[in-house]
């Protein structure tokens, strides 16, 4: 067996298009997932039943179903309920964002709950209301503790973006498939895709380990 990456390199423009697609869906899902997660996380933390119950149902449902099922549901099932077509990007981004929102909501909640009661009491003693205490005292401390878990989430989102290829969204894996089927070189094409993902993600994974170690030392 002779490896020949020439046929992959000849198609590097196709891979570049795929990489742009991967980065685009990653960015959308990262922003939507983490910000929606913050809202849901607040809901999970609320004492009001009308906020707590829907937020909890959302988190449990999206954490306990496979993300691929969610993507396919948004792609094949949602258009029947809606008067408009759902594009591959929209379906995949919806599935991955909502899934990430559910997971990050739990990260936010755990982070907020990890702050000692005394901090709340101290803020109240200074005359702050709940919102001021949350924004000025609790969140700034909690966010520091959440950073490693949120970094992990971001890495997961990047990996999950490959699932968009199942609804034919143009990203790296989808382009790898295309190259493999046009040039009959699945070994080189899929190896190249795997290496690209590894090279992009490895520094971030190492950084997340370092962050975790540092946080453990600090506390």
């Amino acid at each position: 067996m002779r490896w020949d990456f020439g046929s992959v390199l000849a198609n590097s423009d196709a891979l570049l298009v795929g990489a742009i697609g991967t980065v685009r869906i990653f960015a959308i899902c990262l922003v939507l997932g983490l910000s929606l997660g913050l809202i849901v996380g607040f809901g999970r933390y609320a004492h009001n039943r009308w906020l707590y119950i829907p937020a909890t149902a959302f988190v449990e449902f999206f954490r306990n179903t496979p993300v691929l099922v969610q993507i396919l549901w948004f792609y094949f099932a949602l258009p029947i309920l809606m008067p408009f077509a759902v594009s591959p990007l929209a379906a995949a981004a919806l599935g991955i964002s909502l899934n990430s929102a559910a997971f990050s909501a739990e990260i936010y909640r755990a982070g907020i709950q990890s702050i000692e009661r005394g901090q709340w009491d101290g803020a109240k003693a200074l005359g702050m209301d709940w919102w001021q205490a949350m924004m000025r005292i609790i969140l700034p401390q909690a966010i520091k503790r959440m950073v490693p878990a949120l970094t992990n989430r971001a890495i997961e989102i990047f990996k999950m973006s490959t699932l968009a290829s199942t609804v034919a969204y143009v990203e790296l894996l989808q382009q790898g498939k295309l190259i493999a089927s046009l040039n009959f070189n699945p070994i080189e094409a899929y190896t190249a895709v795997a290496v690209i993902f590894f090279v992009i993600l490895w520094p971030f994974v190492q950084a997340s380990y370092a962050l975790e170690r540092r946080l453990r030392r600090d506390e």
Binding site: P66, L68, A77, I80, A194
Partner: protein, 225 residues
Amino acid sequence: MYRWEFSPVIANADLLAAGLLNTLKVAGAALVLGVALGLVLALLRLSPRAVASWPAGFVIEVFRTTPPLVQLFWFYFALPLLVGVEMTAYMACVTTFSIQSAAFFAEVFRAGIQSVERGQWEAARAIGMTRNQMLGRIVLPQAIKRMIPAFVERAIELTKTTTLVATISYADLLFAANEVSQKSFRPLETFTAVALVYFAIIYVASLVARRIELRLAKSGESTVH
């Protein structure tokens, strides 16, 4: 207003049940192989010899850092050409998810083993045990108890990941759903029903996991924070 009609889904319940069985088959096989291989990887990684710990670390990092769908495609489309063997979809799935989950289980094992206090090792050595005896009789029995919650969590993740096998046409529950929805022209009902089936199974498993976690947390032994 759309009228929901679940009877075509119920009429194809046997197809879906066969799919569910295949899902459990892949998940079960990958779980057993993944735990065994994960223990081996963890022991190699913890070994003081670089010849053992480096390759193990490399395998763990590669499989934790690349997307599982890319791994599955590599094992299904690339590996058979490289080594010249026929690879069925089932074999590709079990191979991929065994190694992939082994990489994660290895880290669970490592964290568990490292959480056992140094004094336990020293005491075992003091009464003349070899490294294998220390591991087998003293360290692992204590470590495993602490690893249970992380294990169950990983097993749940693995079950969710098995849905990827549908992309290489292995007839799991998700693949069956796709077939039924095309046959019955009822994608909304089919995918909703299948999502609920997954939810029911995984939710129950999550509840059990949380139970165990609470119990272990009470006795002060858990590696999940």
